[in-house]
Amino acid sequence: MDILDFAVYVAPPYVVAAFAFGATYRLLKYIFLWKRGPGPEPRKRGAGSLVKGLIMTFLNPIIESIRRKPHDFITGLVMLHILGVIPLIFLLDQHIAAFAYWFPPYALLAPLAIPLSFTTSALTVAAPFKPVSEMQWGFVNTIWGPLTVFLNGDVLAVLAMLGVAYKIGDKIVRRAHGLTHVRIGDFFDLGLLFTILLFGFMAAHHLPSGDIVTYRTVLGIHIVLAELLVALLPFTKFWHFVFGFWYGKLHEWYDLKYKRGVAE
């Protein structure tokens, strides 16, 4: 059994168990700390104002980021999140295939699949015929069409790696300035993410060499590290994506827009 076999056939149940344990622990803390008590009468605002308030609660940080920190918006939000890790993780064709192997309904996302490499994308646009595949679905036959020239694993992985590199650089500068809000976990998390992206990119390009042992090792490392990220997710800042973001914004909406009646 090599590392790839371990990653695909052995590790998943342990990863799920670690995630479930961590997530339960973190959620239970909130429940145990909850204290019931009388609250104020909310300021009455119409349903329209509350719905608009909900949308704006999620949009305001993006608008403020564009206004106040455009460099962070481009690198952190656009490159790292919107174009980087979110489509890469959930829509990369190979990822959909892998996730569907573990969880078959995930295959429903197949029509949204993003091809792995720039070459495949270029062929989608330039080739005079449609590629034929005997697999469950056609790898490049997705709704994205010519957009795949941009929406492909190569381009998005490079963008995501640049975004992560920017974040790491920013944190190093902040540390050098003596700011203490930069935590050791930030470097660990960003380092882990960068390594996962790098090994994924290398596996996709059969780097550093094309022999099968190297390929399986590089791909195995990519998957094992991704599994490590999932197992550690409830204990790291990656938790923001599962819980922190949603809880935080919904609480803010409840507090400011619903209870206090801030209308936008």
Binding site: G37, P40, E41, T57, R68, K69
Partner: protein
Amino acid sequence: MNGVNWETYDEALVKEAAKSVVGHIDPVMMHYIENCVSCAACETACPYYAVGEEYGPVNKAENLRKLVRSEVAILPRIFPWLFHSHVPKDAEELNKWAEMAYRCTNCGLCYVTCPFGIHSGEMIKLVRGFLTKTGRVPTVLKAMIDMEVSGTYSGIKGFMDLWQSVLKEAEKAIGKELPLDKKGAEYVYLPSLAEAMITPEAIVSSIKILDKLGLNWTMPSDPMSIRAPVGALAGDGEAAAAVVKRIYNYLKEIGPRYVVMSDGGYPYTTYRFDLPRIVGEKPPFKVVHFVELILELVEAGKAKIIQGDEEVTWHSPCKMGRFAGLIEEPAKLLSMASKNFRKLESHGLFSRCCGGGNSIACIVLPTMQFLGKLTGTTMQVSDEEMNFLKKLEHDMYIASKGKIDEIRKSKAKIVASACVGCIHTIRLSSRVHGLDVSVVNIVEVLADKIEKA
């Protein structure tokens, strides 16, 4: 009056204070502590970021995380140097923490800017509470808290003479005796000693409005507080609760349907939103600001406003706007009151903070000197605290410059607002930044223009 000692360090006290802060964590605070990704998106929103990048919200709030990690997290307790988990180790570090904690107005701009809805200001408030327990609290703030909790402010001649003179002025304005402490009144007007000191005209104008509208009203004969609850400004929840409960009992005795306030700063949000939590029951009355009361009567056709042409603008106090939802209501009233009303550039949810809230403008040297003159006392502060106060005043003027600039840009001659802290800050800062503007409470603009319909 003897000052607080800023030179000593008591390890046992520091540890005890850290434990007590951890005991105050609720699920929302837990979210603030745990779910920050350190992206620093919040920092440029903060008025004190202009002073230096170390005063960005996340960096200031990190002190609470250090403290909590040192108390409850497992790995950080084993490797404190790796995880930044510790309480201040000496007097110097304690003072540094105080410097950071008193560079926050609790304006909430970080809260609405953070992609995760993290209110660093509320975390910094807990750090202030920790510092207060260790003995690091500005002398003047401590004096105000002590006087408010014990009620000894009413034994200070300067305070009571001032209070009485404001009431006399109001009596003169309405031409009749004030209906003080009248049981069964429908409206209780609740001003504070701070309003008598900083915005006495606001009290007179409020009384004029109540009288003009022919309402069945009353007000306390005693100011009841310095500016309740002052304890909240030092993160002292117990002191704050004690004062609020005392005032609540007075209000219950009167039995009004409405409690009306002219101060739209933290006293208003405390009574409007925090009262049920503090007193443990739903109050039998509604708490409203004059803006709500007047607008409701005007919209119901029971009152009208005569329009003038003053060049007036509205500075939205963070508490009344972002934290109480009264953003457009004051602007609506002011546009009825003057055809030359104009909004400030940042009007809205992201209205710029004045830079002096959360006690800052009330503890700096000019305010201390003013209080000293009024009470006939001199407050002794240690050299360390004096340095802290001087630097704080300097930084406050930097933090408030953005506000002054936007007022200047509006070309308004009058700035209407509703918070004692905001009005005091803008007055101090406009002088420093060379802006000639009159800063008043909105009730002062409305009092002569309002009529019973």
